[in-house]
């Protein structure tokens, strides 16, 4: 409320409570046309007292958000006349009450709310109550209306009893999945991604972003793999916040996914991609529709590449160049398009240009007498790369499923994509013309799809042995490999 006058506040509360309860009260709110304001008229008073009510005052009731699913599940007990206790998070000093079961993350303050049908017991001194009042009027509809499984209609209202006062609370009943799908309708039909599953290796800034964005698109089955914990240094780029420092990144991202898509299935593995875990990693990849690789080192990328080829699972790889002056995205369709190994062979300089964002990454390429500096890029320079990777992943997941996004397939035909954030000195892009001066020359802030061929002699996806043998005139059928005794 904007008014600081306790008497005015109480008059407003009394009047509004009377209106909410549809009971006659001592004070009524009346719009005074001459004064162009709302006045509170106290019973017996000759002179209406004008109140300066603003839009903020109209929002004085707290809001309770309850799910229709919970109400239907609780209905047998409610119909039998029992109150059902349910836990809510209290936000902003009681301004908002959110059903704890709606998502994975409960707020710092919670309270139990008693939910029950209107009746003699609803005047007890339970602190927080939600009362279902039967309402058969034709006007019974809207966010606070609940149609019970038996067809009867109820209007819900909340009450907060404290300090000798009763503060009314608005109740909104939400149907989670239909509401989540509303903003995707027309582009992605509700169930189009329900049966798609993805495995995400590496949940740094880019990998975490991609996983969460795909959850927003409606993907429901995730496997998350990353051995790292969230550090304070990560917070300025990662979706995880300062209050989650120390948690495994897989758990941070799992909760973020469930915040966006509470019906998602998320499996977490805080393990490193290493040869020792080969068969474990293979079992995670097997049967998935897509692998998203956001790991920060070549050995893990090549191991994932090998397993994806063997298990015939498509993969997308994303990464930033040093200090994120740009980045790249590679899509691999096993034995159809170039793989990660083909890419390294075809474009070794581009494959070696990686961001050094942590001491571990720096140590991997440093010498004791030639240290390598940690030179991370800005989050805003990494996110365009993650965003493109996510779009490419989405198109792969929609393969074979007609949607309005099919028109994009012609734009996503190349295996490799290049993006530049700035004309970094010391690179081949240093001399690019300014963005505003160029139409057909290479500039910053544009994606370039680059075609290149599979290496038919690729050790990972090609006929390496056959090609080598042919080049040296060796008949492989005549080669006898001695078995171990």
């Amino acid at each position: 409320m904007t008014t600081n006058d306790p008497q005015q506040q109480q008059m407003i509360r009394d009047a509004m409570k009377s209106i909410a309860e549809r009971k006659p009260g001592r004070t009524k709110l009346v719009y005074d046309k001459t004064k162009r304001t709302i006045v509170a008229v106290a019973e017996g008073s000759q002179v209406p007292r004008a109140l300066n009510i603003t839009a903020d005052d109209a929002d004085m009731f707290g809001a309770i958000t309850l799910s229709g699913t919970w109400l239907r599940e609780a209905w047998p007990s409610l119909a039998a006349g029992s109150d059902v206790a349910v836990r809510f998070t209290l936000w902003d000093k009681g301004d908002a009450y959110t059903l704890c079961d709606l998502g994975p993350q409960v707020g710092p303050i919670t309270a139990e709310v008693a939910v029950g049908l209107e009746g003699p017991g609803d005047s007890d001194d339970t602190r927080l109550r939600i009362i279902l009042s039967k309402d058969s009027s034709a006007a019974a509809h809207g966010p606070c209306t609940f149609v019970a499984p038996d067809g009867s209609t109820f209007t819900l209202k909340g009450y907060d009893h404290h300090d000798g006062r009763v503060v009314p609370l608005d109740v909104a009943i939400v149907e989670v999945q239909p509401a989540l799908s509303e903003r995707r309708a027309g582009l992605l039909e509700n169930t189009v991604l329900d049966d798609r599953s993805i495995v995400c290796f590496g949940l740094g800034t880019g990998g975490a972003y991609a996983a969460i964005e795909l959850a927003k698109c409606g993907v429901r089955r995730f496997t998350l793999v990353d051995p790292d914990r969230l550090s304070v240094g990560n917070v300025s780029r990662h979706p995880g916040g300062i209050s989650q420092v120390g948690r495994y990144k897989v758990n941070v991202v799992r909760d973020a996914i469930l915040e966006k898509n509470p019906d998602a299935q998320v499996f977490v593995y805080p393990i490193a991609v290493s040869p020792e875990k080969l068969e474990d990693i293979r079992s995670l990849i097997r049967g998935a529709n897509l692998v998203i690789c956001g790991t920060d080192n070549r050995p893990s990328k090549l191991l994932i590449n090998q397993l994806c080829i063997e298990e015939n699972v498509a993969a997308v790889y994303g990464g930033a160049f040093r200090r994120a002056y740009g980045g790249q995205v590679l899509r691999v369709r096993p034995r159809v398009s170039p793989c990660q190994q083909c890419f390294i062979s075809a474009m070794p300089d581009e494959a070696a240009d990686v961001e050094i964002s942590s001491p571990t990454e720096a140590d991997a390429v440093a010498y004791s007498d030639r240290p390598v500096a940690v030179e991370p890029g800005l989050s805003l320079d990494v996110l365009p790369i993650a965003n493109f990777l996510t779009k490419l992943a989405l198109m792969e997941l929609l393969e074979g499923k007609p949607t309005s996004l099919d028109i994009l397939r012609r734009d996503f035909s190349a295996p490799w994509y290049l993006w530049l954030n700035r004309p970094e000195p010391g690179t081949q892009y240093a001399g690019m013309p300014p963005l505003s001066d160029s139409i057909d020359e290479m500039t910053i802030n544009r994606w370039y799809g680059v075609e290149f061929e599979r290496d038919t002699a690729c050790p990972a996806c090609g006929d390496f042995l056959g090609t080598m043998a042919a080049a040296h005139g060796i008949d492989l059928d005549a080669v006898v490999i001695p078995s171990k005794a």
Binding site: L302, A364, Y367, D369, C458, A460
Partner: protein
């Protein structure tokens, strides 16, 4: 790829090479537990299946030649050998 004999392998100033650890100056990686000097070729983060074994052996031969020059001149081994380039 390790040099097993002589052990310890000495530099021109008679100090053991294995005390340098991962050294850009002498193109070595971490020595073996028993002191063998490890010749640096492609670091793990640069290795891939397209690098043939003969290229690694070639680096070994080049390293030995450069080591001889180091002993003869006292100059760093890195003065005679470039860092192995990214390769297809």
């Amino acid at each position: 790829m390790y040099i097993t004999e002589p052990n310890p392998l000495l530099m021109a100033d008679r100090a053991p090479i294995n005390t340098l650890g991962i050294s850009h100056r002498m193109h070595t990686l971490a020595p073996h537990d028993c002191g063998w000097v490890q010749i640096c070729h492609w670091r793990e983060n640069r290795w891939h299946a397209g690098i043939y074994l003969h290229q690694v052996l070639l680096k070994g031969l080049i390293w030995i030649e450069a080591y001889e020059q180091h002993i003869a001149t006292g100059r760093d081994l890195a003065d005679f050998v470039r860092t192995m380039a990214e390769t297809a």
